[in-house]
């Protein structure tokens, strides 16, 4: 969990300062969104699939105690040792304890947003266990001592030159080498040694199948498979919301996940694992089931649905705010629209008060969400609650009051429009004062000469269409 209070408006400035990079970042993420669109268009039942996924998740959220008990029974029968971690500290304690008991000094870890969120790596490192993140993007940010900026492509905020520099320093690649293929090969060679040398493999869990005690882990790189098939100890960490009733249900999510994330028809490796490997005597498999604040989201009727998230990243890729501000601006492990919905419940409204405002409420996140979380409605409802709880600054509340008044009285709205058109030219050069941010990284469109109502009264109603396109804005 983040220790400091996220300050989106301050932290986003760092990334926005380099406008060339902002444009590039925006484009890179939009490309992912574009690939997602292509992939979904060829699936004949895409919308039915989303409906099914949403219905399965709704069922799960209503039946966690039953599914959990069924899952644990089947998991233990398959040889998993199951641990419950009510808080993040419990997760850290349980994992460290297991590693120490088994004399583990070197562990490899595949991607797990849950362990990021709980600060597991730091805790293990502080206690003398070397933990190597094996997802390439996560390895890159780990070497930079940075958190991931995206949940699927953790190093998307970095350019190849910066990664080249980093690898030159840590992996001994040639100075100036920035070819993605050669950089990836260098990381492959280095991590291969670590997969083989590690005494334990830590993984996340994409889905936990109640009726068989299997977990499903999805990667494109094969790192979760190499990080479980070689080491004598496997520890899988999962949030309690990862439960699904059957492996047949997993089929629905496997068809949605990679298409939504990167536009692939399925992740390269979708692996089901059930307990320890019988071909390797002494192999141990542990499963840590975590709450760590999920109960607060669960208890919140308006936002419980956000627990359905399968971490595909589609809402990040499509979000006009995320694409320009980048993930670190959010200050939370999960950024973007879903992050801004989770954070107020997970870290508290006081700490997360800025995040639900880091959105245009355009609704694109809701449209792409594979499990149909009503993300933009949830952001709006958080805003309402933040206002009720007094977390909205005076300037914003004041502006909202003025707005409400203007919209309540047509004469005031009309007068306001006239004033705005008069001073528009000045505003286009940049709004001064506390709202300067609105015009900092973009220009207002030119003002129309007259209001829409004025135009309609004079000649608009006699014409087919307005001749001046700008009058659309009147």
């Amino acid at each position: 969990m983040t220790a400091r209070v996220p300050q989106f408006h301050v932290d986003s400035e760092k990334f926005l300062a380099d406008q060339e990079r902002v444009g590039w970042h925006d484009g890179a993420l939009w490309h992912l969104r574009y690939k997602r669109d292509l992939a979904t268009q060829v699936v004949p039942d895409w919308e039915k699939l989303r409906d099914q996924a949403a219905a399965i998740k709704a069922h799960v959220l209503d039946h966690i105690p039953t599914l959990l008990s069924q899952f644990i029974t089947n998991a233990e029968a398959a040889g998993w040792v199951v641990h419950l971690a009510p808080e993040a500290d419990d997760l850290k304690r349980i994992v460290l304890d297991l590693l120490q008991k088994n004399g583990v000094t070197k562990a490899v870890k595949s991607k797990s947003m849950l362990t990021e969120e709980c600060g597991l790596n730091h805790h293990l490192e502080a206690n003398g266990v070397e933990v190597v993140d094996t997802d390439l993007g996560e390895r890159i940010v780990q070497l930079r001592h940075e958190p991931p900026s995206h949940i699927v492509v953790p190093a998307i905020h970095l350019k190849r030159g910066e990664i080249g520099e980093l690898f030159h320093e840590h992996l001994g690649t040639a100075k100036g080498e920035d070819d993605p293929i050669r950089l990836t090969r260098a990381a492959r060679a280095d991590l291969r040694k670590r997969f083989i040398g590690a005494q334990a493999g830590l993984t996340g869990v994409n889905f936990a199948v109640a009726d068989s005690g299997a977990i499903v882990i999805c990667t494109n790189e094969g790192n979760a498979d190499l990080g479980t098939a070689l080491q004598p100890l496997h520890i899988a960490c999962m949030g309690v919301e990862k439960l699904i009733p059957t492996a047949a249900d997993a089929g629905v999510f496997l068809r949605l996940l990679a298409r939504s994330a990167t536009g692939q028809p399925i992740t390269t490796y979708s692996t089901h694992i059930r307990g320890p490997d019988p071909t390797r005597p002494g192999h141990q498999a542990h499963l840590v089931i975590v709450d760590a604040g999920r109960r607060r989201l669960f208890a919140d009727d308006e936002h419980r649905r956000a627990l359905s998230c399968i971490r595909c990243g589609a809402c990040l890729n499509t979000c006009p705010v995320y694409r320009r501000a980048s993930g670190h601006a959010y200050g939370t492990t999960v950024p973007g629209p879903i992050g801004a919905v989770l954070a107020p419940a997970m870290i508290g409204t006081a700490k997360a008060k800025e995040l639900p405002f880091a959105s245009t409420l355009c609704g694109s996140c809701t449209n792409v969400c594979p499990v149909k979380i009503d993300l933009h409605d949830q952001l709006l409802s958080w805003r309402r609650r933040l206002a009720r709880e007094g977390h909205v600054p005076f300037s914003k509340r004041f502006a909202m009051k003025i707005g409400a008044q203007a919209l309540s009285y047509p004469w005031l709205f009309s007068l306001g429009g006239k004033i705005a058109r008069t001073f528009w030219g000045l505003a286009r050069k940049g709004i001064p004062g506390p709202h300067a941010g609105w015009t900092k990284h973009r220009d207002l469109p030119p003002a129309p000469k007259q209001s829409f109502r004025g135009w309609w009264k004079s000649d608009g109603q006699n014409q087919g269409n307005p001749t001046n396109k700008d009058q659309d804005h009147g």
């Binding site: 966690i64 299997a214 070689l230 992740t267 979708s270 071909t279």
Partner: protein, 209 residues
């Protein structure tokens, strides 16, 4: 065993209030009826970076050609299930049952047998039943996957439903993986690189089994 009291306390946190209307499971979703066509499979496989090989002029000759195609004559290891399909093929060894899977680190080409294939997404199923030598499929540089010609399934819903039945019916499967193409990453500037940590190349050959 998880302590019953601890589980009850943990579960309580996720208990809907008494009297809540609980949503039922929507039922099994059959998915669309997609054709079990090797042409569709080939298109899907190409899109995920894999190659489809034909068992021509004969199965043994085609497999031999795939082995000999290697850049350097590296170590070729076949899983026990695949070895049974390699009569008449030379230049390979059978993976022996090992407790130290690390020994496959220097394998150039792995030959394995998949249990089924799915046309929708080019996914190939291997499980602890067909591939107890699990690490072999991930440590090798390249992989040749032999899959029975009559085990092609059209849509993934049907393919996964079959696996789900096996898992739920108590078949003692330790692992089951759908592999779709070679390993890949786009973590550096969104540039697709084939060959991340798993295999760098994957070829599929439908065979008579």
């Amino acid at each position: 065993m998880v302590d019953g009291a601890a589980l009850a306390a943990f579960s309580m946190r996720f208990q809907r209030p008494v009297g809540s209307v609980l949503k039922a499971h929507p039922g099994v979703y059959p998915g669309p009826d997609l054709p079990a066509s090797w042409d569709v499979f080939a298109t899907s496989l190409k899109s995920v970076g894999g190659v489809l090989l034909n068992a021509q002029p004969s199965q043994a000759q085609a497999i031999q050609a795939a082995i000999d195609m290697g850049r350097a004559p590296g170590r070729v290891v076949a899983s026990a299930a695949a070895a049974r399909l390699l009569t008449g093929v030379t230049g390979w060894e059978t993976a022996r049952v090992t407790t130290t899977p690390q020994e496959w680190e220097d394998v150039d080409l792995a030959i394995i047998r998949a249990e089924s294939a799915c046309a929708e997404n080019a996914a190939l199923l291997v499980t602890s039943s067909s591939l107890p030598e699990r690490a072999l499929a991930f440590l090798a540089q390249r992989i040749l996957v032999l899959v029975p010609r009559n085990r092609l399934i059209g849509g993934f819903m049907a393919a996964q439903a079959e696996l789900a039945r096996r898992l739920a019916d108590g078949e003692a499967l330790h692992h089951a993986t759908w592999m779709s193409g070679p390993s890949k990453t786009a973590d550096i500037e969104q540039t697709l690189v084939i060959g991340a940590h798993g295999v760098c190349a994957l070829a599929v050959m439908p065979v008579d089994a």
